[in-house]
Every structure is written in C-alpha cells, then in structure tokens.
C-alpha cells in the first residue's frame, strides 16, 4: 500500500557546536517521505519555490517518491535556520521564512485521493486537516505536531486529534499538550482526546507507544556521536507510517515493529547532516540495525 505524506519542504541552515551548513534539504515532508520510501510507495504533498535546487527534486525521484503533489510556486522556498546547544539536546530556531509556504492550500492530485495510509508531518493543524479532508476513507492516519501549534492553535489541534488514528509527538510536547509531568499520564490522557494510538518520542531514551490495551517501550539505538539531530523525529514517523503501509496491517504487533523501524531510520538520520545518511542507506543496513534492537531489548527467564 502507498502512503501520502504532507508537511514542509525547506532549505535549512543548521549549526551544531562543531559544524555549520547552509541551504540543506530539510523540512518534515522531505525527511518523512525519504524515510517512508524504504518501505512503501510515497505520494508527497508540499510546496517549493522556483529556487528549489533540481538536485533535491532528483533526490526524491531516486527514492521513487511520487511528486505529482509537489507544487513549484513563484517565489522562494521555505527557509529555516537553527542552532544546537553543546550537547545537541536543545535547539534554538534562529529564523523562519515561510515564503511560498505562507499561502499553501494544496488540492490533492486525483491519484492521491485514495491513498490508504496518511502521515501528516509537522505543519499547522489547519493545513493537516485541509489535506486529510481530501483523502477518501484512509485506512490509518498518523500525525505529528510541535510546540508552536500546541501553544497557538489548540482548538485546531484538538479537532485534528478527533480525526487521526495515531499522534506522534516528543516528550516535551506530550507534557505541554496535557500539562502532565508524568509521561505515562500524558500518553494516556492524549488517548482520551481522540487518537487510538500515541507515540511519545524521548530522543536518547527511546519511545513509548500507548493504546487502550497496549503499552510498548522501545529503546534508542546507542549512538556515541550524533552529528545533526534535525529530522530524526520526521524520519521516525515517516518510517513508522511507511512500514504500516508496506504490511497493510495495523495490529499491535505491526505497530510495535513500526516503532522499531522508525527508531532504526531515525538513528541513521542523525549520523549526518540533512538527508545525507538516508541517501546512502540500504535495506540490509536497516535490517541489521533492526536485529540489534532485538538483541538490546531481549531477555527471558534463563
């Protein structure tokens, strides 16, 4: 099955304590689509300006991503720049220029409207809803969000939560949206706000999957050196949705596996800037790290 992915496409400038790079391919839809493409055909929805480098369009193409829903509009591509603190756990947004993104209201190509799996990567909840409303009876809808929308668009986000199957968000967002310090309480509280599944991403501490009759705790891959954390969450959710689309199953065992595959692709993402590591990533590498996840979380009464 295929997966529809919408979100931002951006040119990023990223500074870490040791490196700085400009005009990198970024944006939630970029990371998520390439991550998902390792598992399933991707229908991408996004917008770029006429300045968007052809090599990045070719990069999507090399991953078989359907670009019928990628608009090229007069003007500049969305730009984001950010800086990470010394331990890479916190980042500061230095600038955001929406550019062509400001007036983006996509009409889905006809060929996209029956896509069974949907991942609404991080963009405003109104835009996520606008895209979702055009998909005919999707089988499983995953959405991401961010602190900005929690703070400024609480009602739109609440409406979205009633329309999706799974919300993926990070630790601080889960605490912010629920005003709970306990992540366990937070995860369970979000379940009561609509989605059947909630994934709370905890960075170096792995992630948690909540459902009414399910609690799954996934470890993080033990990376010693992270080069650039940008896009890890988008890769996680893209691979998560892509894996579900590939198997066309959404039972608990498939969701657990999807969480692990999401963690695997995210762990590769942060080994390099932008999508550089994803571009060279192979399916055997994904499978190898999946096996490592099994080894590092396995135990049984001896």
């Amino acid at each position: 099955m295929s997966v529809l992915i919408t979100g931002s496409v951006a040119l990023d400038s990223v500074k870490t304590p040791v490196e700085e790079h400009r005009d990198l391919l970024g944006g939630s839809a970029s990371y998520a689509s390439v991550a998902a493409s390792f598992f399933a055909p991707v229908n991408m929805v996004g917008i770029v300006g006429t300045d968007f480098p052809k090599k990045y369009v070719e990069l999507y193409g090399a991953h078989g991503i359907n670009l019928d829903g990628l608009q090229i509009a007069d003007g500049q591509t969305f730009r984001w720049s950010g800086e990470y603190e010394w331990d890479l756990n916190n980042r500061r947004t230095l600038s955001v220029c929406l550019n062509v993104f400001e007036t983006f209201r996509p009409d889905l190509p006809a060929g996209y409207k029956k896509t069974p799996y949907v991942f609404l990567a991080n963009i405003s909840p109104q835009l996520q809803m606008h895209v979702l409303a055009q998909v005919e009876r999707p089988k499983f809808v995953v959405a991401d969000t961010m602190n900005l929308w929690i703070e400024t668009q609480r009602d739109a986000l609440a409406a979205l939560l009633g329309k999706i199957d799974c919300l993926v968000l990070n630790e601080s967002e889960a605490r912010e949206i629920t005003k709970q310090t306990s992540l366990i309480k937070a995860g369970r509280q979000i379940l009561r706000q609509g989605p059947k599944y909630v994934v709370v991403k905890k960075g170096e501490h792995g992630c948690l999957l909540f459902a009414d009759e399910l609690f799954f705790s996934a470890p993080a891959y033990p990376l010693e050196d992270i080069r650039d954390p940008t896009g890890a969450g988008d890769c996680f959710a893209g691979a998560f949705a892509g894996y579900l689309a590939k198997t066309n199953r959404t039972d608990h065992d498939s969701l657990r596996n999807a969480v692990i595959y999401g963690s695997v692709v995210a762990s590769y993402c942060v080994e390099a800037f932008s999508l550089d590591r994803l571009v060279t990533l192979t399916r055997p590498e994904i499978d190898q790290r999946y096996q490592f996840f099994k080894l590092m979380s396995h135990f049984e009464v001896g």
Copy 2:
C-alpha cells in the same frame, strides 16, 4: 547462593510535595537487603544505635535476613532527611547525622567471609573496600556509589572500580564520573576503568547494561503515580545482586534478567514510603510484573 550486603541503615525523614514522614526505616543496606531477600539468603553488614526500633529489626528478621553482621552500638542511629521537588525527579538533602556510622569499621562475622555474591551498597568507597577485603574470593561483586564520593573520594573510588565486577550508578553520576554527556560514551568509559559490567539507572527511562560484548536497554515500569522515590536505586541493585546469587550464574542472559528483576522490585518500592510496599510484596506480584516487562518490550517481525 547467599549475598552479602553492606551499606547504610538509617532513620529517614522524607518530605514529598504531598506528604511528610519521620523516622522511617531507610538506608541503602535496608532497601537492598530486603529487595535481595526475595531471591536469595542475605548476610547484612551495618550499624545502628541503641535507639533503633525493635520493629525494624523484626522486619529484617521476617525477610530471613542474617543480622550477625548488624552491630548495635552505643549512640544514635544514622539519620537522613530529604525533600523532593514537585515532580519527584530532584531531591534535596536537608540534613545528615552520621552518629554511630561515623566510626563504623566492621569486622565480618566468620560465617560471612565465604559469601559468594557481594553488593556494596552506597557508603564511602573506603568502607566498601574495607568490607570487600574481608570476603574470600567472592564470585561476583556489585557496587553502588553517589555524587558525594565521586566529588570527594575519586581515588578511593577508582581503586574500588578495579576490584568489582559491576558498578551500578545513576545517569547523573555516570556523567559526573566520566565528564561525558553521552550516556553511551559514559557507560563504555567506566568499563575501561575496571568493572566488566556497568548499569546506568535512568529512573522513568529505565536502565542500560554495558559490557564489552553486551548492550541491554531495559524499560521502566509505567507508573502513573510515584509516592516516594527514596530507595528505588538500592532496591534495584539489591534485587539485581539477589537474583544473580539465586541463579548462581553471571552470564549475559542472567544479567539481563537480573536487570529486569531489579527494575520490578524498584517499581514496587516507589509505590509507598520507606519499605512499606516491600513488606507486603509477594513473589507472585514480582513474577506478574516481570511478565509485564516482557510484554512491554517485546516485538518481532510479524
């Protein structure tokens, strides 16, 4: 096999945002010994004053703990008081009165000297070394430590690291001892300082077990409400060492299981103040929660 446990025995006064209790049974040896007693016979080494309540001696007795090594000295029992912040993740020590603990230099009872498993719970590294030196060729030695010793007794701690099989410490201690922000780097760096195994406890995020050819990530039990975190780490390590003593095996599978049993007992500990929950804890309850740990960390290609 039996396990020798030394550490502090204390009367604690503990304040959380919602409750305050005084003169509770506490101390690293108390928590660790009772936790270990669910798995193996315990030889306890410690000191109390003449004020130490008889009911607490009876509590140890009810858990079959051998008290030949528990000195009752003229004077007052060691006292500690602390206060937890609103989210229970940080605590402040309000007072410490060493009392009889100040001059404690135990001579092991003859019956203790061949104990094959040893857990040196949190006391000064000199005292840990003094006890360890009296044990004849122990099979497996586990030690805990704390930020105070890392800051004030680095050399004694370094010497101890060369004499033990496994160091158990928490996240902030691992970072402090190695001056590494990455826990993965920290864990591996401590391995190079002596112990064959390192366990890094991460509270609500579970724990990590490191060895040369082993990396194991254990989840935390999803507790919604923690009543008093005091002693959780001691219970973890006590149950960990007790399980190894019970099975008399220290292969990787046994260590993984020991980490899970440690996590199970710690998760019960924090449900009540002092050792109140451990006193009512049953072996079926331990096994039930062990099964839950399996469920919450299990995945497999579907």
